[in-house]
């Protein structure tokens, strides 16, 4: 374990430097998404105002607002470029340059991305969190911050990132077959965003569908961490949800390894 850390630590460092270099790019990117958040917020605001009810399927307006912003934050922090980068390296053949090094392909990517994620989190996490909590305080007049919910949220968030990473890497391997992933990537992001509760909380889905979606790996990406943060889950549900996340993480790690081993044997490197 310590050896792994020593070998892959420089990747994290490199990822850190890379992200720092493109921070302006990143800020623009986030800025666009924040605008989307506010659109979502005003939409729900209109729903609550016109409905006349204080709660909608168990969500108050404050809950919904927090849900929108925290699910956005979760999505940004747990975002993984895996499918894009893996797909691109396969497409242009640069994967060859990874294969000539005595390293594990997945770990090199993972540690590099961890460095990038750290920068992202540093830029966006604290201000967003603070903003949401201040909003809650202003509207409800009480300090609603629960340190336990927050810590469990962090654990769930990290699991969410790792699942997302391995899921995306698995997906990226389809470039071995499809050769170019740009289009299918867009489709994937759309579907995943919906299934993970990034657009509408899964609690709003019809009971049967909601149950299935809760078990699918996508719920582990956004919905579970956000519900934990909101304090919507009781202790047994939290434990079960974290267990489910761990299960999906292990599942994707193994899936990734199986696909990788199968692909590497049949690989052809594109472009000379």
């Amino acid at each position: 374990m310590r050896k792994i850390l020593r070998i892959y630590k420089p990747f994290t460092h490199a990822g850190f430097l890379l992200a720092a270099q493109y921070r302006v790019n990143f800020i623009f990117f986030v800025f666009g998404d924040i605008i989307r958040c506010f659109i979502s917020y005003f939409l729900w605001h209109a729903v609550f105002t016109s409905g006349g009810n204080n709660t909608f399927m168990g969500f108050s307006e404050v809950d919904m607002t927090v849900y929108i912003f925290i699910s956005f934050l979760t999505g940004i922090v747990a975002y993984s470029d895996g499918s894009y980068i893996v797909g691109e390296e396969i497409r242009d053949g640069n994967i060859a340059m990874r294969l000539i090094k005595p390293i594990r392909f997945d770990l090199a990517f993972l540690f590099q991305e961890l460095g990038e994620r750290t920068v992202t989190a540093m830029i966006i996490f604290v201000p967003m969190m603070a903003g949401v909590e201040i909003y809650k305080f202003v509207v409800t007049g009480a300090v609603g911050f629960n340190i336990w919910c927050f810590l469990l949220y962090l654990v769930s968030l990290i699991l969410s990132y790792l699942i997302n990473f391995y899921f995306n890497v698995c997906y990226g391997y389809s470039a071995f077959v499809l050769k170019n992933l740009w289009g299918s990537n867009l489709l994937k992001e759309c579907i995943v965003n919906f299934l993970s509760g990034g657009i509408v909380p899964l609690a709003f889905m019809p009971a049967g569908l909601g149950f299935v979606l809760n078990l699918l790996p996508f719920a582990s990406l956004t919905y579970i961490p956000v519900m934990i943060y909101l304090g919507m889950y009781d202790v047994p549900t939290i434990l079960m949800s974290l267990g489910l996340q761990v299960f999906w993480l292990v599942f994707f790690i193994f899936l990734q390894r199986i696909i990788w081993n199968a692909c590497v044997r049949r690989m052809s490197v594109q472009g000379g």
Partner: protein, 337 residues
């Protein structure tokens, strides 16, 4: 050090029919065709040798290199390098080799060059003292000092290539693979790189396999060459051997004092030659005769020429390696030749 036996690699290729209709058809019902990129190649390389791997574009050079470096798995056949089989236990094997693909880079595009070396140092578990020594040596032969703190994307192609070669050598590999290390470089930089490769080869008896289209590389560096064409080995041996085997072409050029006399020269009848063996060009001033020195010796050509006409100037030139290889590529020699 390196043993390659009956190595073979086939690729499956989807055949697309032309046009939109063809694209749609092959989307639903792809037709596969099997392409043999490397067909039954064998050779072996002793430790410390520099082997040049040459052949026209698409001959299968890069495919062989990719199999030797463990990137591709051969369809059949064997290769063994330093007692290890590349595609089995890849992670362990690649610690022993260095690889440079001239058209790609292993450097971190957006980071200062130094950062790449720091990452590599950890990957290959090079200790601090060894790292310092190695960097000093690489600095000396490849002159990295002036750009080691610049981001890789700002380097010129020549600098990048030097940096890439250094990156492949940081862990003192036993075998170095260079796939077109001088591609796109100017004459001076090419020369620097050649000298560096020589120095590296001498320093630790590193075995070097290089592919190239630049025959100067071959003449200056290689102890031996293997030439492949269409996946087959067509030649294996030293440069002298190549010249004596294929380089029978000689060119005789002379300026006759008396043109009439010179025009009465009839080489074909005198030596019983066919059109394939001799080409005569006469531009009204210089007469040049290209002939096959296997069929008629240089001495006989000269004495016959001089017995018929007096000359102001005469010279016989050796066929240079470039010409030889051009001939071989064009005529596509059979593997047995």
């Amino acid at each position: 050090m390196i043993y390659v036996e009956n190595l073979r690699k086939e690729f499956k290729k989807v055949v697309k029919e032309p046009g939109l209709k063809g694209s749609i058809k092959s989307f639903f019902k792809p037709k596969n065709e099997i392409i043999t990129a490397v067909d039954d190649i064998s050779f072996h390389v002793p430790k410390g040798e520099i082997l040049g791997f040459i052949g026209p574009n698409g001959a299968g050079k890069s495919t062989v290199i990719k199999m030797l470096t463990g990137i591709l798995t051969p369809t059949s056949g064997k290769c063994e390098i330093g007692g290890q089989i590349p595609y089995k236990n890849r992670k362990n094997y690649v610690k022993e080799i260095g690889v440079v693909f001239g058209q790609r880079t292993q450097l971190w595009w957006d980071l200062a060059l130094r950062e790449t070396y720091t990452v590599l140092k950890e990957i290959y578990e090079v200790d601090d003292e060894q790292y310092k020594k190695r960097m000093a040596f690489l600095n000396e032969v490849l002159e990295l000092d002036s750009f080691i703190t610049s981001p890789v994307r700002t380097l010129s192609l020549g600098q990048r290539m030097r940096a890439d070669i250094a990156a492949s050598l940081l862990h003192s590999p036993k075998v170095l693979f260079l796939d077109e290390p001088t591609i796109g470089l100017d004459v001076v930089v090419k020369d620097n790189i050649r000298n560096a490769i020589k120095a590296i080869n001498e320093e630790q008896q590193t075995t070097v396999i290089l592919t190239t289209h630049d025959l100067q590389d071959v003449e200056n560096l290689c102890d031996r060459i293997v030439m492949i064409d269409k996946g087959n080995k067509v030649f294996d041996g030293g440069i002298g051997e190549l010249k004596s085997k294929y380089g029978q072409q000689r060119e005789l050029k002379f300026v006759p004092t008396d043109f009439k006399a010179a025009e009465s020269l009839d080489y074909k009848r005198e030596f019983n030659l066919t059109d394939d063996d001799i080409i005569i060009e006469n531009d009204g001033h210089i007469i040049s005769v290209t002939f096959n020195s296997d069929k008629v010796s240089v001495e006989k050509m000269l004495s016959y020429t001089l017995s018929v006409t007096h000359v102001n100037d005469i010279n016989v030139s050796d066929a240079d390696i470039e010409e030889i290889i051009k001939d071989i590529y064009k005529s596509g020699v059979s593997p047995s030749a």
